[in-house]
Symmetry: C2
Subunit: 349 residues, 2 copies
């Protein structure tokens, strides 16, 4: 654990700026007096850089970012940037270049938080989404584009190396949780080659974790359980695309993507891991101090956990839990983004 | 419209047998006195045939089935059949061989039906899922299987021909509905080649349907709306895999797959279309007259609609609506599968 955490900060666009400011406030507050200080380097990446220069992630910036202990990202994008440019040129490029193979997405229904479900039960699970393979590898192409004979392909690439390391990480997380349960989600009755690789890998790694109970769901059935019995899940391990879909749904049933945090983790720590709220840049409410910084603050908790500051992570989590309960009790009133951040920072100090 | 409907019936396994019997009962009842008769040929396909002979869909059977006007399928599978065998060897084989490119899945929250959502709103949409392309084409492979160097791929294949015809079908359906709204669901910010083909096709075909309002959602965002605002959807058009996922979720929010019907349609009518409940063979409750035949009966309504018997289709729908309302009012009591079928048959006579 370094005495100084070198943190690359990418506030990005829209509300990304506002929520990142609050996340940093809480981070400083919780580490105050701990002996650990945070040295931030801010990178101006996102829609503004793209509009100015056409660049999304210059090589030199990527190399600089690489020299940090972790990355905190707000949100990127504005309506003027064509779909896919920042996603692939910045977000996915960081995930792939920095080998973020464990895409960590906890889903917890905090007490008092509104959910679309009539009878949600006690929801507290984490999705371990593979982050560097699957249909996200960019291995597709198109022929005779724009003609009646166009053909477009997308190739999902899955390797024993890639599947094994994320499955092992998921088992380790499951073993460390009280319920010790792991659910593999795939679609191996249709996607047989990839599906069987995942299935065999879970069997093989699972043999080394005899305490962890394993089950399997097809991705379509998993979405059903996410609305009929989400409390059944503990640790879910799944591929990049299924994980993308399941975690948005999971966020929706636990109060919305406004509360959902995520970590793009390289557990080897040979590169900086990246922490970001699941929500986007929300240009419609940007700059008005209307955004809820909670997801960004919870991403800080994941960051602290990853860096080994477990106590500090727990304090951030507890502060958020208490703040959400105060809101539910009608005691919080209407607050600006900064006021929420101030309250959370005060609570962790 | 033929005077005799030649119907291939594949009851299949488990509750497939029981619900199909009731569906046929309702079909005869609703056509009684209409001048149209139904001539059924039953095919013993599914787990039993597979256990007996190792076959899933013999070529000779496929050719015989081809000579019918439509197919009614119950459900196939039992725990003794390896995952994927009947799915690919029978269900998907029929869909692909008979060119069922429009996989039609209505989602309607019938009055009184229990839903996991606290505030569902007025849900009534149809998903038009492409049925013969995408990641379902079986175009994948694996290398060095079982070694640390294994690599497994799955290729999603999308053609202008295939996308255009299903998009056109979806627009025609949207144009015929009161709200005239079509939502394309894809993930074009990541799956750029396939995604852009879908996007361009929707734009091009949409120009010929100026009355239809079009919007777009990434598949992850679509799952959020399916639980926070499902009433926003009217017609959804999407690829084979996204459609598989979305329709199970849609079924869950409208009362469960026990009520969900589907049609595997070739709108050209050059081959028989196939109608089936979305649920599986449920071996745990099979043979006990515990299954609800409603999804199979609603599949008969889709079949009638497809064959041009619009009035009869509406009567089946109305009978189901009334029956579900009676259940909600506590007036139906506990009934066997056959008793539910009898009640629906009586209601449509
Ligand atoms: C923005 C997009 C590329 C990204 C993804 O698909 O992974 C997002 O949906 C997410 O879940 O982080
Ligand atoms: C059984 C399976 C192959 C099938 C599919 O994936 O299409 C099912 O889930 C469905 O939705 O009809």
């Amino acid at each position: 654990m370094a005495d100084t955490v070198r943190l690359a900060v990418i506030p990005g666009d829209g509300i990304g700026q506002e929520v990142t400011a609050e996340a940093l406030k809480v981070l400083s507050a919780v580490l105050e007096g701990s002996g650990t200080t945070v040295a931030t380097t801010e990178y101006d990446l996102g829609a503004r850089l793209y509009h100015r220069t056409g660049e999304t992630l210059p090589d030199s910036v990527l190399e600089e970012v690489r020299g940090h202990d972790a990355i905190l990202l707000g949100a990127v994008g504005d309506p003027g940037v064509p779909s896919g440019v920042l996603e692939r040129g910045l977000l996915l490029k960081l995930r792939f270049a920095l080998d973020h193979h464990v895409n960590l997405r906890p889903s917890k229904l905090f007490p008092g938080v509104a959910t679309p479900l009539a009878d949600p039960g006690d929801i507290d699970f984490v999705v371990v989404r593979e982050g560097t393979e699957g249909p996200y590898v960019g291995n597709g192409g198109a022929l005779r584009v724009g003609t009646p004979h166009e053909i477009a392909t997308e190739v999902s690439v899955n390797t024993a190396f890639g599947v094994e390391r994320v499955v092992r990480d998921a088992f380790a997380r499951a073993a460390a949780r009280p319920r010790k349960k792991l659910t593999l989600v795939h679609k191996h009755n249709v996607l047989v080659h990839a599906g069987h690789l995942w299935r065999r890998t879970v069997e093989a790694v699972g043999a080394q974790f005899p305490d962890v109970a394993v089950d399997y769901l097809h991705v379509d059935a998993a979405t059903i359980f996410l609305v009929t019995d989400p409390a059944r899940f503990d640790v879910v391990v799944t591929d990049n695309l299924f994980g993308d879909i399941l975690t948005d749904l999971a966020a929706a049933v636990t109060g919305g993507i406004g509360l959902a945090a995520s970590g793009n983790v390289n557990p080897d720590r040979t590169t900086p891991s990246m922490f970001e709220p699941v929500h986007g840049s929300a240009p419609d409410i940007a700059g008005k101090q209307l955004a809820d910084p909670t997801a960004a603050v919870l991403s800080v908790a994941l960051l602290l956990e990853h860096l080994g500051h477990t106590g500090a992570a727990a304090r951030v989590d507890a502060a958020v839990t208490a703040d959400l309960a105060r809101r539910a009790a009608g005691e919080a009133g209407r607050r600006t983004t900064a006021e929420v951040g101030d309250a959370l920072a005060a609570a962790v100090s």
